[in-house]
Amino acid sequence: MTTRSAAGPDPAEIYLDHAATTPVAPEAVAALGRGVALHGNPSSRHSAGQAAREAVDGARAAVARLLGCAHDGVVFTGGGSEAINLALLGTFAAAEWRGHLVTTRIEHAAVLGAAGAAATHGVAVTVVPPDPSGHVDPERIAEAIRPDTLLVSVMHANNETGAIQPVERITEIAHAAGALVHVDAVQTAGKLPIAPLRADLVSVSAHKFGGVKGVGALRVPAGHELTALIHGGGQESGYRAGTENVPGILAMAAAAEVAVTASADPVVRAHREHLRARLLAGLAELDGIRVHVDSRVMAETVSVAFPGVRGDTLADLLDLRGVHVSTGSACHAGSESPSHVLTAMGVPADLARSTVRFSFGSTTTEQAVVTAAEVTVDSVRGLRRSWGANPA
């Protein structure tokens, strides 16, 4: 166990894996401490309990602003995956597992896993492929929708490539057809505006925007029929039983407030775009690299193939040189099969396997990105040399 005492990465480290998880924001650390000090159970009627209840209510208001919904439209969960599973399985369970689900091949494992579980209950599932650009064509969604389609689930931006999906257009199409929409906004919350999304259900995960791991939230509209995954004491309006994660919820709210403010700031957005440009300019020294998605893309997420090296090998070498990046999504680290997202986009397996994802967050500096690009160029050259390939 580490004995480091302060939050956040050590200064010699260049952490470019914010799409996997982010350091906890100082404001969130402070809120976590306040939450720990609230020792009562929010369900207890005494003042210690009521103090915890009021704090959770305050946090709910802040997260409601992030999600763009009424306070009582926020359901706190034990993470993004749980929020997603609740959205999909809860909706279909309430419909007694009747109806049809439309989703896409580039969704996160939580959506695809929940869709698979829904299928075992008898739900019909259509999984739409993306275009080679990494974007889902709304027309493909329109074609997939059937008269019995209950729910369409599409991510706001892809975690591996950063591709921003046309969720507003998809929502229009789905709503016109009488279907509900779930948007997995885990990657975009705190980076792109999600409050305006017209989707019915929206999932977020605190640790992706400066909160702590193991806390998420789902936007649930008034009147939506949803069956809980976790039954019991009636917390979260009956949608999620169990004593509330008071410190985690307070930290999520504090992180949301910081992130929402920052993401609305044009200077911050311009800085992120600048970081992306600097990284790509640095990497352009190398021959043959391929940026998987470079338009309609989050500035923060840069997915690049380096032909002639294995992506995991490159990530290991960068790690040993102090630069933390990932191969595709964190969940897939270590698994041998190439990314399901890149595969769905038609990227050949060897190119997919040579891919590394750089992702930025609020703590990323220009210097870090410039250094990371230099170290990457040098590392790719070294690996190509070991392989006897032209290192350029």
Partner: protein, 133 residues
């Protein structure tokens, strides 16, 4: 990085003897069909002793490290000693490999054996042949 032994980290970040021996007496090329990793060895052999050896490798971090390590271990050794290298010995020389890295040792032992066999049979590999790992 706890996933790798210090020896593996050393050879991975600072590979020895990469490239090809100019006037090689023998070349051996082995690949693992599952993960696709490949090691090419070229060596100069004189009086049954490996006098020079270089590697080229494409693969996971451990495979690159072990390829480099192998060249250091083999250089100056007799072919019979090289033939006696097995996967367990490679794991040991590498300072330990985790279960999912272990097949790297098979790749390394296979390419070493192939080098000896090819030398004795006077053949050379141009395309990678599969290792038994």
């Amino acid at each position: 990085m706890g996933r790798f032994s210090p020896t593996v980290v050393d050879h991975f970040t600072n590979p020895r003897n990469s490239g090809q021996v100019a006037d090689a007496s023998v070349r051996a090329f082995v690949g693992n069909p599952v993960c696709g990793d490949q090691i090419l060895l070229t060596a100069a052999v004189a009086d049954g002793v490996v006098t020079d050896i270089r590697f080229q490798a494409f693969g996971c971090s451990a495979s690159l490290a072990v390829a480099s390590l192998l060249t250091e271990v083999v250089k100056g050794k007799g072919l019979d000693e090289v033939a006696a290298l097995d996967a367990d010995r490679v794991v040991e020389l590498a300072g330990g490999l985790t279960p999912d890295q272990r097949h790297v040792a098979g790749l390394a032992a296979d390419v070493a054996h192939r080098l000896v066999d090819n030398f004795h049979q006077g053949v050379n590999d141009d395309d990678p042949i599969s290792c038994g790992a």
